[in-house]
Every structure is written in C-alpha cells, then in structure tokens.
Amino acid sequence: MIKVTELTKKYARNVAVDHISFEVQKGEIIGFLGPNGAGKTTTMRMLTCFLPPSAGSATVAGFDVLEQPLEVKKRIGYLPETPPLYPEMDTTEYLTFVGKLKGLSGSELRGRIDYVCERCAITDVRHKLLGRLSKGYRQRVGLAQAIIHNPDVLILDEPTAGLDPKQINETRDLIKGLAGDHTIILSTHILPEVEQTCQKVMIINRGKLVATDSVQNLQSRARGAELVLVEVAGRNGNLDSATVQRRLEQIAGVSRVIFKETHQNRNMFEVESQKGFLRGDLARAVVEAGWDLNELRPTAMSLEEIFLQLTGEEVTDKAAAKGGQ
C-alpha cells in the first residue's frame, strides 16, 4: 500500500530524513517511533504530499507523491502534529468543510459526520466553537477530520497527544478497529502505545531508520533472552554485594549481572542470560551460599530498553547514571 525508497529530506543545514526505505502492506498498523527531532513528522509530511522529498521516492496505493499528488491526497487521511482547526468554526461546520474538501456531499457527508462524531466521542461538542475546545477535544476533532472520507491510508502524527487516559484507550481501540480496511501509520513517543496498537514498529533516529520489525521480533531480538530480578539478603549481619555478584556471575549461562541497589542488607541484582530457564540454578546458588532469596522475578525486556539500545546515546547516559549510583 505504501512503498518508500531511499526517501531523503534535506533542510538548509541539516538532513532531517536520511535515505529511508520501507513498505507497508494493506491493513497493517505501523508505529513510527523515535526521539524528538528524529524526522517522524518530516517523513509523514512527505507521504502526505505536504513536503516534496529532496531525493528518493514514495508511492501510496501505487501513486507517486510527486507525480500524482492529487490521487495520493484522495486516499490519505492525515492528522498533523497540531490539529488543523479553524477557531471560528464549530465542530459540525468544520467537519462539513473538510468533508467537502475531500469530495463528499449531501446525505453521504451528513452520515459520515454523524459516524465520525460518534467514533471520536465528540458528539457533545458538535455545536461548540473549535477555538473554545480543550486540547484533548481538539485532538479528537482532528482525528475525526482525518477519517471523515474513509480513506485507505491513515497517517496520524501523535494521535494520542494531550488525551486523558480513558480517551487514550478509546483512541487506541478506534485505531485498532480501523485497521483491516485501512492502512495506518502513526507516530508516537509512547512505547506502550506501540506495543498495544501496532503490529510493526519502525524506529527512527536522527533521520535514519534503525529498525523495522514486528513488536514480538524486536523484543526477542533484544540482547538478553531472559532478564531476571534477584533480591538477596544475608542471614545475619551485612552482606557484601560484590561477593554476591561474583557468585552469581559464576553460574553457567549467565551473561551479565548488574547490581541495582542495596537496602539495609538486601541486595538487588538484574541477571541477564542467553539461555532461558536458569532460575532454578540461580535459586540453588543463592541458598547454597547460605543467603536468603527474597525475590526472584523474570522481567521481559521492554520495548523501552530496546528502543534505548537501538537509538544509541541514551543507553550510555543511562549506564553512566547507573555507575554513579
């Protein structure tokens, strides 16, 4: 449905998007993830024909964004970073205007307006001026505007920014519900959002695509196959955390032991292993050494950690912060 090859955008001084290539199949939901200034908005703007690429090409539903922009625009629903609202219009009026711009009219248009108002939960502000809406409601009207003409492709730039938790869930459900018939690209900083809504993730950093994969694959691709949190306490008196760390490192299969913190005489460690199932070995080692095993809890490598790992510099920051503790 969407095919991007070597897409590049240069601004006067910097390269905002640097030779990005990816493909999105019909019906997929793709999460576009990256820190601030990574180039998410710029990429989306090129896909929606708002910005022309400096190099490379992008096609939407088989139409090139430079050659046949009108055909591309007909098939795209776009929610920009700031919802494009006219403050002097009320909600219904605005949706009518946008619907007409997208080529709808008559009873079809009225039907769509009723539908999107209900889907985006804005029925109660239908006759309110857009300039008087709260941030969350503006975002919802922006979303309603993007889906008004039932487009094949939806491009949503941070769709849940500024929404309350309940509405975030509803919006995620709405987006999930739209998948299937629609192909969706959404950008976000919020990692759980990607885990919950998207099938595929693209991680972008400084204009470069650092990873494209399904959420599960990314998680298992992360360095450790298993991460276990261990809390060890001494029977009597103090326990030297370095001793415990050395003992844990000796266990076969353990690739890394990270000392987290110590509380009175309880010591917390994060143990990373290449093979799974060494919890038994861990427990035995601790008990045999005469210590108490207070806690043993597997933690999945979160997308957040993968993200930090892939986007580089933050990892070192985090490590430095840890070292300082």
Partner: protein, 255 residues
C-alpha cells in the same frame, strides 16, 4: 470549480464571523459618505454662486461630482486593501491549517482563486454601500448612469489587482501584521509613483508612472473603457495570482 466555491464560501464566512467585515464596511461607508456629502455641498454651493453672479456656469453632475468622487474612492480603497488580504494565507500558516488545505485533494490554484474571489467580493460589498450615496443623486438629479457603471468597473478591476498583490504578500509570512504593513507599503508606493511624472519626462519616469495603479483609473473615472488600462489591471491580477501560486509551491520547499 466546486473546490473554488468551497474555499470561497469558507473565506467569506470567516470575514463575517470575525467582526472585520463589518468594521471595514462601516469605515468605508463612513469615510466615503463624508467625501460624498462634502463634495455635494461644495457642488451645490458652486451652483448657487454661479446663479447669483448671473453667469451660466456649466453644471454637470457627472463631470464635476461623480468623477472626482470615483477617484477619491479609488484612493480610499488603497487603505482598505491590506486589511482585507493580510490574513488570507498568513493566518493559515500560523495556525497550521495550511497543512489541511495542501494535503486535501484540491489544487493550489483553486485555493488561491477561492480566497481572492472572497476578498474581491468583500470589496465589492464595500463599493455597494457607496453606491447608495449615488442612488440619492439619481433621485434628485439626472446624472448619466453609464460613466458611473464604468467607474465602478474600474474600481473593481483596480482593487482586483491590488488584492492579488496583497494575497501574494500574505503567503510570504505567518504574521498578519507584517503582511498587512507590507501590502499597505506596496499599495501606497503604487499610488505615489505617478507623482514623478509631474516634473520628469524621461523614460524611467514614464515607466514608473505607468506602473502607478491610480494612473490607469483616470479613463474609467471619465467613463471610458480604455483597453490599455483594462489590460493593465487584468495583467496585475494575473501576475499577482501567478506569484501567489509560485510562492505557495516554494512555501513547501522551504518549510
């Protein structure tokens, strides 16, 4: 065509939702009304004067009242044009709604023409108010309506050109005030350019005075359609809108 209409309606509506349209209509009506009654008073005074002296002073409504009034209207218009066009694109750029327009299946020209037509319509509305004053003349006098109609056509053409320039300037910035001030400067310059012809007859002076929009209005005020002047205004309109579309395109390349 349908898209032009959609943009036109939206634009005209936003003029009337914000009080700007009413403000402009009222101010224009008041200022022009002042000129009108002032000139009429003077005209009547001159008429009585000539009667008292017993000379047959040739009194002609069209020549002595309507023609100078139309010229006045064209100058007053210069001051109002920036206020009509300044928000057209600058505001869309500031609030980001330009992103909606440029990602909708609608051509740039359709957006531009829709907006420009809305601006012209508002100006036409302002002229309509001034026409009420002239209606008074028809009730009590016997002026020739044809030169008056041609004069109005000239006013509309002239404003069309300046509004196109204003529309263009509005695409250059996201700040309405800057757009308005720049448009006002350009309008003023296009008016005073004509003054060089007062003391200089070299080619450069003639070129400058040719560029003065006011110059080309004279024939219309007299009630004649001079094709040279009509072509001048149409060219200004065309160039203004053409540059607007170029600017809208390059706006994407830049931002």
């Amino acid at each position: 065509m349908r898209n032009v209409w959609i943009i036109f309606r939206k634009e005209l509506r936003s003029y009337f939702v914000s009080p700007i349209a009413y403000l402009l209509l009222t101010m224009f009506a008041v200022i022009f009304g002042f000129f009108f009654w002032n000139s009429l008073g003077y005209f009547v005074f001159m008429g009585m004067e000539s009667q008292m002296r017993g000379q047959a002073f040739p009194m002609n409504l069209n020549e002595q009242l309507i023609r100078p009034l139309l010229s006045n209207a064209s100058v007053i218009g210069l001051f109002f044009i920036p206020m009509i066009t300044m928000r057209l694109f600058a505001e869309e750029k500031r609030t980001g709604t330009i992103e909606l327009l440029t990602t909708s299946p609608i051509r740039d020209v359709e957006v531009i023409i829709g907006k420009w037509l809305a601006a012209v319509s508002l100006y036409a509305g302002m002229l309509l108010f001034t026409a009420l004053n002239f209606a008074f003349l028809f009730k009590y006098g016997n002026p020739d309506w044809k030169p008056l109609a041609i004069g109005y056509l000239g006013l509309l053409l002239q404003a069309g050109g300046l509004l196109a320039i204003g529309t263009f300037i509005s695409t250059l910035t996201r700040n309405q005030i800057i757009a308005g001030a720049a448009t006002f400067g350009v309008c003023l310059l296009l008016w005073v350019l004509e003054w060089v012809s007062g003391y200089e007859t070299a080619t450069w002076a003639r070129v400058l005075s040719y560029l003065s929009v006011i110059n080309h209005f004279e024939s219309f005020a007299k009630g004649v359609i001079d094709s040279k002047d009509a072509i001048f205004y149409v060219t200004v309109i065309f160039l203004g809108l053409f540059f607007t579309s170029r600017s809208m395109e390059s706006l994407r390349w830049r931002s």
